[in-house]
Symmetry: C2
Subunit: 156 residues, 2 copies
Amino acid sequence: MKHSVIRKKFEEHLRSKNLKFTSQRDRIFELAFQTHQHFTADTLHAWLKKQDGAAVSRATVYRTLHLLEDGGFIESLDTGRGELVYEHVLGHAHHDHLVCMSCGKIEEFRSEEIERLQEQAAASRGFVITSHTLRLEGYCRGCARKQDLSAARQVS
Amino acid sequence: MKHSVIRKKFEEHLRSKNLKFTSQRDRIFELAFQTHQHFTADTLHAWLKKQDGAAVSRATVYRTLHLLEDGGFIESLDTGRGELVYEHVLGHAHHDHLVCMSCGKIEEFRSEEIERLQEQAAASRGFVITSHTLRLEGYCRGCARKQDLSAARQVS
DNA sequence: GTACCTGCAAAAGCTTTGCAAGGTC
DNA sequence: GACCTTGCAAAGCTTTTGCAGGTAC
């Protein structure tokens, strides 16, 4: 999905809920969709502060992130390292995460087969899935090499 | 694994780290392993308070939960409903979770096939997995029926 | 007797909220 | 002009920490 289309959706979303299109919301939306990284509320707040001087208050950052999450524009992810990070999702296929416990890097992956098995496991219990989180924790290629985790690889 | 064996392991663990076996740690350990439910730090603190009067301070509850988690006796799980819950794991096979977003019920399941595919996905990226979290969110059989989510089932 | 522990209360993080001033439509 | 938003500061929550007295071994 093109950025302009997503942006239009955001404006529509606001209008449909009688919410105003403010400069703060605009800037937060743009940052969230420009970055290719996962970010925390605090990181985003810092980015805004660095942008040509005018900071946006923390309260507004939190409020807008909730707004974007409720609207399905972004999703939050608990990394397991004590951080809650966000990522934009509109225009991106669903994916799962590999979190490096050493350097914090987050890689994304997707397996149709896993998705299918999840659905199957849930269905057999009468469970209706609305969403899911699959997070693999460990060490990325670089960090694993540095720490010589070849032994760990065999065990895991 | 029998309770007495697990308990012995706990005592050994304490000894091996030069930690003392105190009545507070004993009570927290026993509660954590007696319950079949998932519990929060606060819930556990409340249970302790109800037990014949003598409360254990919150600080000690938190400290002991960390101790048990570090020792691999319990694991924490973010439910996605804004709660951090614990469950005892020693003597239990690894499993994943189905969390009902309506009633909060947590069901457990395990799929060898999913485990294998996860390992495969990670390995192909040079990633060494140390642990993982798979959480399916949605509605349990009972809640789905109440809310007539048959439509949602077709969509998901 | 020597660590280690506990409880208390204060502190620390992170997030939310009430309110008055300001902006959007 | 009506209503929604923002920023600020205060409040809320959960979790952590410093310290002095208490306890296991």
